[in-house]
């Protein structure tokens, strides 16, 4: 009798264990599957979002560059473009304060130079004082330089040049140099080839 009871008890336990096991496995399965799948999916999503953002940024930068070039081409087309540059090679005879430019009697630029900007010019910098459009033909440039000359006297000198605007961009350089022989500054306008 006791053997039979023990056997039946063991059988019942075995039956119980068998019924419990697979259910647990089933319960664990989906969770385990979810746990293993989640991080992988979301990191993949983030990576592709990041790539999208980067490519959008690249597009925006490239668009900005194209717009800038287009704007320059529309406003200052290369074939009618004319630009004027200032350069200095002076030390003792002239301290530049401002430059005034007139083309064909019309004022196109009036630039005041700060101490910092003068320092840059003296170190070899070249300043684009004006860029504009001109028709093909003969034009007159009048440049007036204001500053302090020898003995810190107020100084005002002009330079005039007639130039011919052809097809293609035109670049003119207004150069201020020391003329040691006369102990005076010299103002010259020259065309860039």
């Amino acid at each position: 009798m006791s053997i039979k009871r023990n056997f039946s008890r063991a059988g019942l336990c075995a039956l119980f264990m068998c019924s419990f096991g697979p259910a647990s496995a089933q319960q664990l399965g989906p969770a385990a599957a979810a746990a293993s799948a989640g991080p992988g999916d979301s990191s993949g999503e983030f990576r592709s979002l990041d790539q999208d953002v980067q490519s959008l940024k690249d597009e925006v930068l490239s668009l900005n560059r194209d717009l800038f070039l287009l704007e320059e081409e529309l406003l200052f087309p290369a074939n009618s473009q004319v630009a004027f540059y200032i350069s200095m090679d002076v030390g003792e005879y002239f301290e530049l304060d401002s430059v005034n430019l007139k083309i064909d009697g019309k004022e196109v630029a009036n630039y005041l130079y700060t101490e910092r900007e003068l320092g840059a010019l003296l170190r070899g910098g070249v300043h684009r004082v004006h860029m504009g459009n001109l028709k093909v033909g003969e034009h007159e440039l009048v440049a007036v330089f204001t500053g302090h000359g020898p003995n810190v006297r107020e100084y005002r000198r002009g330079a005039t040049m007639n130039f011919s605007k052809g097809i293609g961009a035109k670049y003119l350089e207004l150069e201020i140099t020391d003329r040691i022989s006369k102990q005076q500054p010299e103002f010259a306008i020259k065309e860039w080839e």
Partner: protein, 170 residues
């Protein structure tokens, strides 16, 4: 006739706040925008360009010799300049009189030590949409307009102090 005058006066009085608001909106629309760059001749004879002050907190004060509140305000601005000039604060007083000599006389009379610039052609005041006097603009270290004050009343200098200190701390 009398009724018409009263009606006209009423219309004018009703419109005044709107007109003032419109003019105050003009300058205050600059807040949050990059401060328009300019260069002007100073009373000392040098040319000063706003963008060369980038990195400092800059106060631009537009004033005129005929402006009573400007006379009240300028010595107080000078105090701010003396106090904070060493720690990255710059002040530019832009005068819009037709005759710069009167401006120089007034600045000397008031004991102003900050740079006084002359905008005889009114180009800079147009750029900053100045329509009433005085106008005080505060520009942060990155060159952005952060505060615009229209007019002056006693006590405004306390606001300036708070704003300058906050911008210096940034």
């Amino acid at each position: 006739m009398r009724r018409m005058r009263i009606a006209l006066l009423g219309v004018l009085l009703a419109a005044m706040p709107g007109l003032f608001a419109a003019s105050s909106l003009a300058s205050s629309g600059l807040a949050g925008q990059p401060a328009p760059d300019f260069v002007l001749k100073s009373a000392r004879g040098t040319n000063l360009r706003l963008s060369e002050y980038r990195g400092n907190v800059v106060m631009i004060n537009f004033w005129a010799t005929w402006c009573g509140p400007c006379r009240q305000e300028m010595p107080l601005l000078n105090d701010l300049y003396s106090r904070y000039g060493r720690v990255g604060f710059s002040l530019l007083g832009v005068n819009i009189d037709d005759d710069s000599r009167r401006a120089m006389d007034m600045a000397e009379e008031l004991g102003v030590t900050f740079p006084v610039l002359f905008d005889e052609r009114k180009e800079v005041s147009r750029l900053y949409q100045v329509e009433a006097m005085p106008v005080t603009v505060l520009v942060d270290r990155t060159g952005k307009v952060r505060h615009v004050h229209l007019g002056y009343k006693p006590g405004y200098e306390e606001k300036y102090l708070t704003e300058i200190r906050a911008l210096l701390r940034e």
